[in-house]
């Protein structure tokens, strides 16, 4: 009897907790959608910030995140391959692996400060490269550890089978092991991209922001997230509405990338 009662209590408590968690999430999503969609106009996408749109911000954010991804993906995947396939579980490997894990949870504002000291202060101006570098530093450890973990899931027999057919180690890694881990590695890249596309802190004092459309990475660079931060603090209604619209668009983008990530994970034979 006591056992059954306890079971019921725990069931009720955990169900309640689940609903509280989901409840807040829905509250956020509903408010965001309601206010966001209401403030959304066609001109939001065709005008730059200076004219009350977010076109230059989207382009800027994606440019910085895109450059970060282009540089970080090959670096991170190769580092993951080194850790799992060549590191042979030595001390150095475990130190690098631990450092990389710690980096995953490094406060993003700290990364921003670090990049500020190296890429902003010496040049005397906020710039797009510094923004991209910050995002890249955030992304790198995530890609390293997902690649590392996904390669670890590939059974060692698969490597041995490749070697037993007369393959050399690097060919087996590139043609078989990486193929077998492709879905996991791709998902890791997508999710880390989703993570950085919504980051504000690393951009605040690296790229800062720009009201105008620009592709000049040497100057202040437009950023969607930094703009949301700024707009939300302005006193006028129009700015705050634009912040809602931008937040809604950003959330939709992140949600979309996450869904794609999940879809990719589920499809077995990519």
């Amino acid at each position: 009897m006591n056992r059954l009662l306890l079971n019921k209590i725990i069931l009720i408590l955990s169900t309640l907790s689940a609903f509280v968690g989901i409840g807040f999430l829905f509250w956020i999503l509903v408010t965001l959608t309601y206010k966001g969609v209401a403030s959304l106009q066609l001109t939001t996408f065709t005008h730059d910030l200076v004219e009350g749109g977010i076109r230059n911000l989207l382009v800027g954010q994606f440019t910085m995140a895109g450059i970060a991804t282009l540089v970080t993906v090959p670096l991170g995947v190769m580092a993951g391959i080194y850790l799992r396939e060549y590191g042979n579980a030595t001390r150095v490997t475990s130190i690098i692996r631990n450092l990389s894990d710690i980096m995953t949870s490094a406060p993003s504002i700290v990364i921003g400060v670090f990049v500020f000291a190296f890429l902003v202060e010496p040049f005397g101006t906020f710039n797009g490269w510094a923004g991209a570098a910050s995002l890249g530093i955030m992304m790198l450890p995530i890609i390293i550890s997902t690649t590392d973990n996904m390669l670890a899931l590939v059974p060692k027999e698969l490597r041995e089978a490749g070697i037993a057919l007369g393959g050399s180690k690097h060919k087996i890694i590139l043609q078989i092991v990486l193929q077998a881990a492709k879905v996991g590695v791709t998902t890791g890249i997508l999710l880390s991209f989703a993570r950085i596309i919504g980051e504000t802190a690393p951009l605040l004092f690296t790229s800062s922001n720009n009201q105008f459309f620009t592709m000049d990475m040497n100057s202040q660079f437009p950023s969607l997230t930094v703009s949301i931060y700024n707009l939300a603090t302005y006193p006028d209604e129009a700015s705050r509405n634009l912040a809602w619209a931008a937040s809604f668009v950003l959330t939709a983008i992140v949600l979309f990338i996450n869904l794609v990530g999940r879809f990719v994970t589920r499809s077995k034979h990519l």
Partner: protein, 265 residues
């Protein structure tokens, strides 16, 4: 007993130590593998039979720090001389060795690619690029592995969608395609159902026309059904080696008899 059988591999006083291990896993083994015969290795878990098998194509060398001592001789195709494979150092020498001494694992190991590409993989590695030649070799290998009829209409499908037994036969086809001299089987049926097991056993019996087979198995019936020679190992030593009939019906050693009759193991 047929006295014309020629040794294809000879293991002489082989000692093997895994990295970091205090004790050698193989403590001075001597064994002869005869050409076009099936040699079974039996013994309780941890006796070293898989370690010995995996030394025969030096797959151990994939991991650093393994130490060999002694000789493993393999007869050369061209000169007929017995060459010590423990003397190999360069990567291309290893690649050549493994093309001659193939390996099939406990769990099927299809590569995440099409059925065709699975078989083509080793062939391409060995330098065959010509589409016509590839097609011919692949069809022949799949026929030899008794799986051609099941896959001929879906060669471009992913190999991951096949059943376990089919995957294992595909892996055998993949190895056979390279025309190896010796094929090593490491408990090839222990992950398969009885019907797939019977198919693999039949296939192995067929294969011995062209290749020499060494098979590690936990299944004593399988060893007695399938093999021409049996070697019984215990704690890193080869206790007994001889024609399968003799080992099973009239073992010389008490330990062998105890193991075969199921008194321990």
């Amino acid at each position: 007993m047929n006295t014309t059988q020629k040794p294809i591999m000879e293991i002489k006083d082989l000692r093997f130590i895994y990295p970091g291990a205090a004790q050698p896993t193989l403590k001075g083994n001597n064994l002869t593998i005869y050409e076009n015969q099936i040699t079974a290795m039996i013994g309780p878990s941890g006796c070293g039979k898989s370690t010995l098998l995996r030394a025969l194509n030096r797959i151990h060398d994939l991991y650093p720090g393994c130490k060999y001592d002694g000789e493993i001789l393999l007869r050369s195709n061209t000169t007929g001389e017995m060459n010590d494979i423990l003397k190999l150092r360069k990567e291309n020498e290893f690649i050549k060795l493994r093309q001659q001494v193939g390996m099939i694992f406990q769990k099927p190991t299809p590569f995440p690619m099409s059925i065709y590409d699975n078989v083509a993989y080793g062939l391409r590695l060995s330098g065959i690029k010509n589409k016509g030649e590839l097609d011919g070799r692949i069809e022949k290998a799949l026929k030899e592995a008794a799986i051609w009829d099941e896959v001929k209409n879906r060669l471009n499908d992913s190999a991951m969608g096949m059943s376990g037994g089919q995957q294992q036969r595909l892996c055998i086809a993949r190895s056979v395609a390279l025309k190896p001299k010796v094929l090593l089987f490491d408990e090839p049926t222990s992950a398969l159902d009885p019907i797939s097991t019977a198919a693999i056993e039949e296939l192995i019996s067929e294969l011995k026309k062209d290749v020499t087979v060494v098979i590690v198995t936990h299944n004593m019936q399988q060893a007695s059904r399938l093999s021409d020679y049996t070697t019984f190992m215990y704690l890193g030593d080869i206790i007994e080696f001889g024609p399968t009939e003799e080992v099973f019906l009239n073992p010389r050693e008490k330990l062998t008899e105890d193991y075969i009759t199921g008194r321990f193991g």
